[in-house]
Subunit: 236 residues, 2 copies
DNA sequence: CGGCCGGTTGATCTTCCTCAAATAAAGTGG
DNA sequence: CCACTTTATTTGAGGAAGATCAACCGGCCG
């Protein structure tokens, strides 16, 4: 795979994504190198960068690689014929994109922020997995994690209102946010705009905005500016 | 695994589930025997039966087997602390339950109707998969299918109203329903009650009922009794 | 400065939930 | 087989949550 020349969604390419074969992992990446999955990337992966707004993979195109996010945020979504979009997950440092041994992307992935990634070819994954039960299990667990993540989201769609969904999301996000989004003052940065949150939580961006206001009003969260937050209440 | 003595959910056990080791597949099952997955069950599986309302697996309990539905309908769901339930899928003849190599059930599965199943131990699956890339890919594809099914449901939760969701469900159900639920008159039988449909579609059972009435009124579906239907319109 | 984009807030309207009642279907015991 | 209980389904009325449409604010960029 080569990210150079990948189509950009809305704007013309301002900076060309770079691709760098077999570079050494940087110190910042070291913390991710502790499973058989990470071994896979450290040995067979190559580095790729994608600029904000760039597209990593496009629904329907051949899927030849497995990606590991090193830094930045990715939105993975499906886009309906009528243009409506649903974001299934925001992938961050340490997350994999393109699990499952199916040869066509079944979703679209876009860079919410500038990205650094590592990529390995699926062939390499298959070849290694054939003789490594640990790797197989690790990948399988990740895939199950994806499944549970969808199920949690479904559950919240069916039974929670806008404020609850947003608060749950913010809780999870602060828990899982990579260091790059954390500050000393305990505030976490939201890399995505309100519309993306809406498309993830099944709400309009207006409703998301109102839910933010309501949570601030009842002191469930604290905010600095429009994109830095901290969850205050421990309960609902 | 042994289904005898499995706890029943609401009522006392009226008929004891039976378990029968290593029986030959019946002629009715033959049609399912055509993939490496099915080979797995034909060689290493044993037959089990569960009565309507019986529980196949309980969230949190150790998961030691992989199940193949031979006949009947299963609901796979998670149940929240407050008793709210979400049904992720209805499994029917040919569907697998318990994919993913994780040792604890992450959901609850109950028999919507009387069931016949085949079960294999996960150990056997692992052992065979170790030397059978075809089997690995087949299982992986099934798991991805699950994932996509959840994503479709999420999409419909976010963007479709009650009637659209129900109609989509009925379309999919007629397409995928096993022969046992089909009649000569093109009508398909819904094995589950309105409440189950609601818990699957993220609606109350009253809303499901109203959606049925509305679809009948505008001749999008035809119904005979309360549980046999046929989709009439080809479009929305 | 003016336009654009993202975010906030308000007013109105639609959809679906909630509560309630009536009806239908299915099993139970005599 | 019938009266009776229980459960599933349908339908109605009222209310709440969120979508839609619209106005406004503030920052950023040409």
């Amino acid at each position: 795979m080569d990210f150079v020349g990948f189509p950009e969604r809305t704007k013309p390419v301002r900076h060309h994504p770079l691709s760098e074969r077999m570079s050494r992992p940087s110190p910042a990446e070291e913390s991710l190198w502790h499973t058989s999955v990470s071994m896979l990337f450290s040995r067979h992966g190559y580095l790729a960068q994608v600029r904000q707004g760039g597209i990593l993979c496009l629904h329907g195109e051949p899927a030849e690689t497995l990606l590991l996010v090193i830094s930045g945020t990715v939105r993975c979504c499906t886009i309906a014929e009528d243009g409506r979009r649903h974001i299934f997950r925001f992938a961050q440092a340490g997350d994999l994109i393109g699990l499952s041994e199916v040869d066509i992307w079944h979703f679209t992935a876009e860079a919410v922020t500038d990205l650094r990634l590592r990529a390995v070819s699926r062939e390499a994954v298959q070849a290694l997995a054939a003789n490594d039960p640990g790797l197989r299990q690790a990948l399988s667990r990740r895939l199950l994690g994806e499944l549970r993540c969808r199920e949690n989201l479904l559950m919240s769609f069916a039974h929670q209102n806008a404020e609850e969904r947003l608060l749950d999301f913010l809780r999870r996000f602060s828990r899982e946010a990579p260091p790059e989004l954390r500050a000393e003052d305990q505030l976490v940065t939201l890399p995505m705009p309100r519309r993306d949150l809406g498309d993830h939580l099944g709400l309009t961006f207006e409703t998301v905005s109102r839910a933010f206001s309501a949570l601030k009003r009842r002191a469930a969260i604290e905010m600095r500016g429009t994109d830095r937050f901290r969850v205050l209440s421990a309960q609902l």
